[in-house]
Symmetry: C2
Subunit: 653 residues, 2 copies
């Protein structure tokens, strides 16, 4: 045993000893370098002047980061700490830290032979500290592709702080490896400049959101519990067994109840960067835990919350991503469904849905005329610009759905379609006019009830966009950030599986639209809500509402409309009856917002330690088995699904 430690302390690689000695040396020299004191950072010091320029070298061994050195530093003695990224023969090392890369020139003098040997023997990804002088690179050897490419550091002394084993792959190659491997070795993946950028941008944007909310608008950052009670219909809530037999906490999907109770408590304006939990099993690009910017205000209306959020986005938006134009456009749910076939339209491109029913009202196309004859029957279309470039794909077998009809407007002016012979020339040009289609486009038609027709075309619209872009057609500007409000959602929707009953379109605390309140008793299915969604490039990144603050209305919604057990929400109903102010709020999905901002394809690229799509931590192997003894504290035992009794046997002895 002692031998193991001896190796650790003084052993073959000599690294602990090296560090232990080097450490003291460094301590001494660091203690002489006074860390930045706070005298010149008093509360009256204008933060704006320093905020974009934090001191990255306060309190640490280094004098500079690798990435900050420039020609202006030539002649200075610097101490750097970082990872060995690359080594060329015995000439130089490229040293890396979070801030960038710098070239270190090894000493070639005979007197520095030992120092040179140490640096030549060190493995890649080992951690070293280097002290040396910044010098200009020899004429003609500057590297314009490297921000530190004009200079290099001639090393005078160096220490190995920790050596690395030979890694199973080069870390810079990791980004090209499978996601499973990247997650297994997340601590290596985090060294990539992309993940460093993503996490730092996330931190910076959240910090600016906090400044906007706290410092500019007096919001109070309040932490709410995550060990809570199961909510009605909370089928996706994780349970947490307690020491009380048979009793469980629940990890909430959002702090909805708490934020409303804070308003009842007179807190006036609340926000929280809130961790939320949702057990959705295996869904791609969902995480069992996620983060939302959670906001609630008293004495507010929908327009004001929208203005607040527009200001928040503008204030926190990273400069390098261009400017944001306020106010964000707004469309109603009905318009969104009618024009885009979805409630989160991507407005970076057109291809809107148009109604072409009139063209077919009298035309001799029986299957369309029949559809129009049904109650509410419509014929609708989208026109795919330059659709002919990918016409083969549209005609692939799985797209030949019976209820979708394609018309290719071929470059020679002729039609390719089952409709070609069924329509007169006049009807053809009338259709093109109504649908806004031109030569080279592909026209997609569908018939049926409006909801089904819109949904089908909305899906095809997005699929076509992806296909067109894969064929090189420039359709969506991938540097554009199209924020959009969607408003006037329905308050209730027919229940899936039982359309005679209603369920909340969002949640049961959403207030009805004032103009529709008179319909609550008679035709609740027609009532619009004061719910609003924030959409970015076709992704929902936030949603909120004005809440019901009237106890009796809330009780009516829960008991009469939704047939929920109000017992589970008695505390909320009592609170509403104890002087609840009118209030409303919103929650922004932070992971998605950051992912869209940095252009990441998955939210896993903006989360430090994400779970796999099966909800597993591939680095630590969570979730894991727990012994029956440990479970007995919580009065639970595992009930194996029938026919799979083996898994418990795997518990390590």
């Amino acid at each position: 045993m002692g031998a193991v430690l001896k190796r650790a302390l003084v052993g073959s690689r000599g690294k602990y000893l090296a560090f232990s000695v080097g450490f003291n040396k460094i301590c001494t020299s660091r203690c002489q370098k006074q860390p930045q004191t706070l005298k010149n950072l008093s509360p009256n010091y204008p933060l704006a002047a320093v905020r974009e320029n934090p001191d990255l070298n306060s309190f640490v061994f280094r004098t500079h980061t690798c990435g900050e050195l420039r020609a202006v530093h030539i002649g200075q003695e610097v101490t750097l700490c970082g990872w060995v990224q690359y080594r060329r023969q015995d000439l130089f090392i490229v040293l890396r830290d979070f801030d960038g890369l710098i070239q270190i020139i090894l000493p070639q003098e005979e007197t520095a032979a030992q120092l040179k040997k140490i640096l030549c023997d060190i493995s890649l990804e080992s951690v070293i500290t280097v002290t040396g002088t910044v010098i200009s690179r020899p004429s003609g050897q500057a590297n314009p592709n490297m921000v530190t490419g004009e200079i290099e550091v001639r090393v005078q002394s160096a220490e190995v702080l920790n050596s690395s084993r030979k890694l199973p792959f080069e870390t810079k190659e990791l980004v090209k490896k499978s996601e499973a491997l990247r997650m297994r070795y997340r601590y290596l993946d985090l060294r990539s400049s992309q993940l460093q950028y993503n996490l730092r941008l996330r931190s910076r944007m959240v910090m600016r959101m906090r400044e906007y909310l706290c410092n500019l608008h007096g919001f109070v950052d309040v932490e709410t519990p995550t060990l809570f009670k199961r909510t009605p219909g909370g089928a996706k809530e994780f349970v947490v067994p307690s020491r009380e037999p048979g009793k469980f906490y629940s990890l909430p999907q959002s702090p909805q109840q708490f934020k409303q109770l804070l308003m009842v408590g007179g807190l006036d304006r609340y926000f929280q960067v809130a961790r939320c939990y949702r057990d959705e099993g295996s869904k791609p690009d969902r995480q069992p835990e996620f983060t939302q910017i959670d906001i609630e205000m008293s004495f507010v209306n929908q327009a004001s919350i929208q203005k607040l959020i527009e200001g928040l986005i503008e204030y926190s938006w990273p400069e390098e991503k261009g400017t944001i134009t306020l106010p964000f456009p707004s469309i109603t749910y009905a318009e969104a469904m009618g024009s885009y076939g979805v409630d989160k339209p991507d407005t970076r491109f057109g291809m809107k849905i148009t109604d072409v029913s009139e063209v077919f009202r009298d035309a001799d196309v029986s299957f369309l005329r029949d559809a129009l004859g049904q109650p509410c029957g419509v014929v609708r279309s989208i026109s795919v610009p330059k659709g002919v470039v990918s016409v083969a794909i549209f005609y692939s077998a799985d797209r030949q759905q019976s209820d979708v009809t394609f018309v290719t407007l071929q470059p020679d002016g002729t039609w390719k379609s089952v409709l070609t012979k069924l329509l007169t020339d006049g009807e053809k040009s009338e259709l093109c006019r109504a649908a806004g289609a031109r030569v080279g486009d592909v026209l997609i038609l569908t018939a049926g009830d409006p909801n089904t027709a819109n949904a089908a075309l909305g899906k095809l619209r997005l699929e076509c966009a992806t296909i067109l872009e894969s064929k090189g057609v420039a359709l969506r500007d991938h540097n554009a950030f199209n924020f959009l409000w969607v408003v006037d959602f329905p308050l209730f929707l027919p229940k899936e599986g039982n359309p005679e009953e209603l369920e909340s379109a969002h949640h049961p605390f959403t207030a009805p639209h004032p103009e529709d309140a008179y319909l609550m008793c008679t035709e609740p299915q027609k009532v619009r809500s004061q719910h609003y969604d924030l959409v970015l490039n076709g992704n929902e990144i936030g949603g909120g509402s004005i809440r019901i603050h009237d106890m009796e209305l809330q009780h009516y919604v829960l008991e009469t409309v939704l047939k929920e057990d109000t017992g589970l929400l008695l505390h909320l109903l009592e609170a509403l009856d104890s002087g609840a102010p009118p209030h409303g709020g919103i929650a922004l999905g932070l992971d998605r917002l950051i992912a869209l901002t940095v252009g990441a394809s998955s939210i896993r690229d903006v989360i430090a330690f994400p779970k796999s799509f099966r909800g597993r931590d591939l680095m630590s192997n969570a979730p894991d088995l727990v012994s029956p003894e440990e479970l007995s504290t919580y009065h639970i035992q595992v009930s194996q699904p029938a026919g799979s009794e083996s898994s418990q046997a795997h518990y390590p002895p």
Copy 2:
């Protein structure tokens, strides 16, 4: 059912209708009042100038808060929103919001009879909005006890936004009620100025900590998962069943592993306001979930982290609590135990432990001489100033422990003690000199091994302080904030129950003190650690360490010293072997720090929705029963403790 809603919409109290109508009216008028736009709050605007003056009236119906009105507003028309705190006959209402109280004068003209009636009929704690003119109070009627006491608002129009039921108690009385009642009606308790202050100060202090860390020193705010894997020895970790049969997540007690992995990942400087979980069953003033300011840095030593934290505390310290002097004093663990008998000394008062062994080495006190004859035997004492005022308490039966001896130095110069006749006059004065005792003091002596003697006296020292203060002796300055570092803790301690084996004094990732590293193989029990605690007024408010960054040393500690299963930490060992920089950090207990700062007696007074000491949410009644069907998703079932099969039967049908 419709009748219920009708009551809600237009019913006897008429409140929904009033709101519904009033709401539109307010919307319209608000829309004309442009919310503060961001043009004048661009990123270049010096935040410092606005940070202490957030706009509390942006985006809302009111023009001013109740608490901000002063004589300077006389003549202005204002709109206020708030709660009816108090009403005197038909003359005035006191309106309250989070910011304060304001007196509203009811109209006495015949033409305003209806308005007056509405305001006279409204119940206390109802929510109203009022528009009126700020006027000076009549001569001689100013209220100097009220910051708005020079003025009042003559109401012109008003609306009831929500009426309150008659509450079971007056909210201002709630603070005097039982804690259980306060927690049951937490949303009412939150309306108290004390809780409003506590939560707002908490938000403000955390925001300033973030500014210091992010904006001044470039720390990156990284969120780490709370659904994780059980850690070795994590007996206090809540488990969370997953959908994989028999597999569980664990809610971590701290992000310790993640913060170290972030350093391996090159993140350089990390912080997080981290929610942590610890299942300690029923412990007073502990919460199953709590918050820590979690910090980790690479390329750092202990002194630098201490400097960082001192700067953090100074920067975030609320002005109204006085100034903080830097640097904080520091004592070693050995000194703390020797002088105060605890590792978290309250240095606001003296009564230090002194060694008086020499006095008794030759004295004729057999039981003390015998104790001194044992290996390491000592006699130690504390001198309780003015102890005679509470002498009766010291002599109460349960304090007459066999190993504690009292000496009362009575005002007349005589002794009251079993030692009176056993010591010579010379020995008596020598004892008083050695112990620093004077007439009027009570001297407490104990004999035995140093650890036991110190622990006993340390406990008595604190008990005596409490007793003396209860008798009116001014001992501790309750406006003083004595921060103190405690350093040089032992790395390992003998295991409770099995003193032949060692366990980590803090956690297995703590690095040994460089001066003691040579003892790791031979006498690990003698090795000091690079752990440091931050103590405030006798409470531990933070702890941290320089971590082991060498894989082999970490492996040796886990396997050889601690006999832990290294398999559970393979990912961490692999990470340390992949180029881990030297690193260290700290975690501050935010709840405790804020509670001490505001002078709250319990951390429950600085948490918006705390749990009872049994871990229950008394408002919502969590934890609660969950149906067997819901549990089956997670492949668990409840195993009732023997003889208590009834509880499952309580599950609501």
